[in-house]
Symmetry: C2
Subunit: 467 residues, 2 copies
């Protein structure tokens, strides 16, 4: 059954790419309200596609935000394990648009890559599983295990309604393992399994210094400028070594054990690699930790944008009435995102100057997780990678945040497998996002193998097999 599915996938690559391209053309940007129609169109596209390949119970399930697309195939019976596959059909905004070399929603193949918004994050990786399931259903009319799809439309907007949904639908979603393909491997030949993800607390600070915009010639030196007050406050949130200065910020950070440090530092991260990936003039960070530790196992604070005043061409001498900044903190396991949001808010208000009316808003707050690598669901993933790529995966603490990981662990009590197929230079959240097509096709094969290995390793009895 596995071999037929693999052959089917290999001989239908052109059709698979064509379907993915149609999916990528829909500008499903969840953060921008003007794309709400596109969001619904993308969800409907998935419903149609999942129905066409033979899944059951395909439905668009409402949330207070964008709908979640659910589908399943439970024909392997209760003796076979059930795998829950998570993906998201929304994508990041595309600004700055003028830095794209090809239109973000006109997917373009150049060499071995396909360029476009959502190619790697996450439509391309999500579609790997649609194609793998299709390959089984088109050949054997069955899968070696039970499958449930949970496809979200608000991941790039902070997954605001996912936790309530998973909690309410925990019986429907119950599974023996959850699988997410929304991460990257080291290079096209070297797979990576993720051993932990960071949490994220995302805040917005707003300052008002006057009723209306003022002329700096008339009021400079007399009425404080919110941009000057804001940069002073923002600059104080980190010390010279990049450590966060918010009181209590590090209180819940569990020290890395000697074994953990060894494992992290044995990974693929190197200064030369990061310099090559980013083109940065020099690297940077807390000198008490190695590059690999800082990259995934330490909390951070970053400013993402500062609004207010004039950023056009020329020389407008405005003192803006208001200014605001978006700031996020990546958190490690045991730091509580909501507690960090409170500490941040208290600290910012306590150091705000009397010249400003200051408000602090929590945009979102989601936790991190450390993944237990010893369970069968993860071992099967390592085996699937090894069988398909010809070498075992490396293990990496991921710096990014996937709120779904601690959510699945806490609510569904299921192990979470982070089996990604992107590359480090895929330009996620940036212009010219791409996906490496050999990874796409190899991803489909890895998924086909994984479903079969998971059925073997977790099955309480082997289901009726194909001869």
């Amino acid at each position: 059954m596995r071999e037929q599915a693999l052959t089917y996938a290999q001989t239908h690559q052109a059709e698979t790419l064509e379907a993915l391209t149609a999916f990528l053309r829909i500008p499903s940007i969840s953060m921008l309200p003007e794309h709400s129609g596109d969001m619904v169109q993308a969800a409907q596209w998935l419903v149609d596609r999942l129905t066409a390949i033979g899944l059951d119970h395909v439905q668009m399930m409402p949330t207070p935000g964008y709908p979640i697309v659910y589908a399943d195939w439970l024909g392997a019976g209760p003796a076979a394990p059930t795998l829950l596959i998570y993906g998201h059909y929304d994508v990041q905004p595309v600004d700055p648009l003028d830095e794209w070399l090809t239109p973000p929603f006109d997917p373009t193949v150049k060499g071995e890559d396909i360029f476009g918004r959502g190619t790697a994050d996450d439509k391309g990786q999500l579609y790997i599983h649609v194609a793998a399931v299709a390959a089984y259903l088109q050949t054997a009319e069955r899968l070696p295990l039970n499958i449930k799809f949970l496809l979200e439309g608000e991941e790039e907007a902070g997954s605001a309604h996912l936790e309530d949904f998973v909690m309410a639908q925990r019986d429907l979603l119950q599974a023996d393992a959850a699988l997410i393909s929304d991460s990257h491997i080291l290079d096209p030949a070297t797979p990576i399994l993720i051993t932990g993800v960071r949490g994220l607390t995302y805040m917005e600070i707003s300052m008002r210094g006057s009723r209306q915009d003022l002329h700096s010639g008339s009021y400079g030196g007399v009425v404080e400028n919110p941009l000057n007050a804001l940069v002073k406050l923002l600059a104080s949130l980190r010390d010279e070594q990049g450590r966060v200065t918010i009181p209590g910020f590090y209180d819940d950070v569990e020290p890395l054990s000697q074994a953990e440090r060894q494992a992290i530092n044995a990974g693929p991260v190197s200064e030369a690699l990061v310099l090559a990936e980013t083109g940065a003039p020099a690297l940077w960070g807390d000198p008490d930790y190695t590059l690999a530790e800082r990259k995934g196992a330490r909390p951070t604070l970053d400013i993402h944008g500062i609004k207010g005043g004039f950023i056009g061409q020329g020389a407008k001498t405005v003192i803006p009435a208001t200014a605001s900044a978006k700031v996020s903190m990546r958190l490690v396991p045991h730091q509580h995102p909501k507690k960090i949001a409170e500490l941040f808010t208290q600290h910012v208000l306590s150091i705000s100057p009397p010249t400003m009316e200051v408000t602090v808003e929590t945009i979102n707050a989601g936790g991190g997780a450390v993944i237990d690598m010893s369970v069968p669901a993860i071992q099967a993933a390592a085996d699937a990678y090894e069988q398909t790529f010809g070498r075992p995966p490396l293990y990496l603490r991921e710096g990014g945040s996937l709120p779904i990981v601690p959510m699945f662990i806490d609510i569904l009590h299921a192990p979470v497998v982070l089996m990604g197929f992107g590359l480090p230079d895929d330009n996620l959240h940036a212009p010219n996002e791409k996906f490496h097509l050999p990874n796409f096709y190899r991803g489909i094969e890895t998924a086909i193998v994984y479903y079969d290995l998971l059925a073997e390793q977790m099955g309480k009895g082997r289901p009726v097999d194909d001869q």
Copy 2:
């Protein structure tokens, strides 16, 4: 002759307002290239209007940027003084557009105010002199003195080509006094004469931290974020008291004399007034100087905008590849704008971190001036204000920068009279710019009186008078 002109102005207010409204409808934003057609249209509108009211030598004179409109009436003969009237037909950009209560280029009268971009700065104030000259020419067919108009189109963009133009055309522009109506009075009943203006050095700092935008989950804590580096640098440019920390910045600042301090502090500026004008929660500044001193006689540093990253709705976790900031410094007389630009550049580069590629650009640099109040041109202005408003003017060191002032003093060796008719709450460079119509009409009368008084006080022999 003066009385007839005054009567004419008073009986033709409706027509005058209609003409101003047509001028205000042209969106002549010099800083935005997409308005270049509107700039030429505004210049042509002035040419047509100045021709229609009977001026001579009306012409659009080219510069490497937008044209300068010149016109004169020299019929008073060599025994009468010549007054050069400067104004600018360009206006500020209108963003944030959504804060305007009426469309910026659809001038709207509400109560005693006319709202729209350029109403006060400077089309309305410029048009005061067009109307005053018209009142004389329509009644007596002559003026009591010689008049030259110099109407610029790049004031809001830094007057990049004005100095070269004035230098090249200094014979054409030669005058006994120069008059600028581009400032404000205290309130509709209390005129102000400006005794000094500040210089301006406007800079842009750009930082690049990586080749492309990065994901903060992947590179936070490892590759420095240009926004974090930039706020740290910007915050360091002022100390706790708001003093500028750039080495050498204050070297050329002449200490205020006891007499100057007394004069400045006898002026109208008060904490209650500034709080009421601005709605600021609290005022601010160098404790070694009074509010009035800080407002006009001390140098300042303001940030006008910070570009880079994401400022839309939601939670994008980008580490932008680049970030930039616009920063200007108001300078007092004897500070050299180009020297300050150099000191700024050297200092910023010297404190830039190794994680960033930093560039510093001078957007513009123009000097300040102190005005000698004892010359006849200024005394005539004080008398004209007193005759029209019924009370003598207050004297104020203006915080803003009018590069034309030191330029006229240096190149034309002419005293400069800053006779304004705006109000402090006219929202210059901000949404809902307005001009108080009683000030507009009273401004026309003051100009009519001023031309006559100046002819009397500076005339080497009284020209042939009307009977």
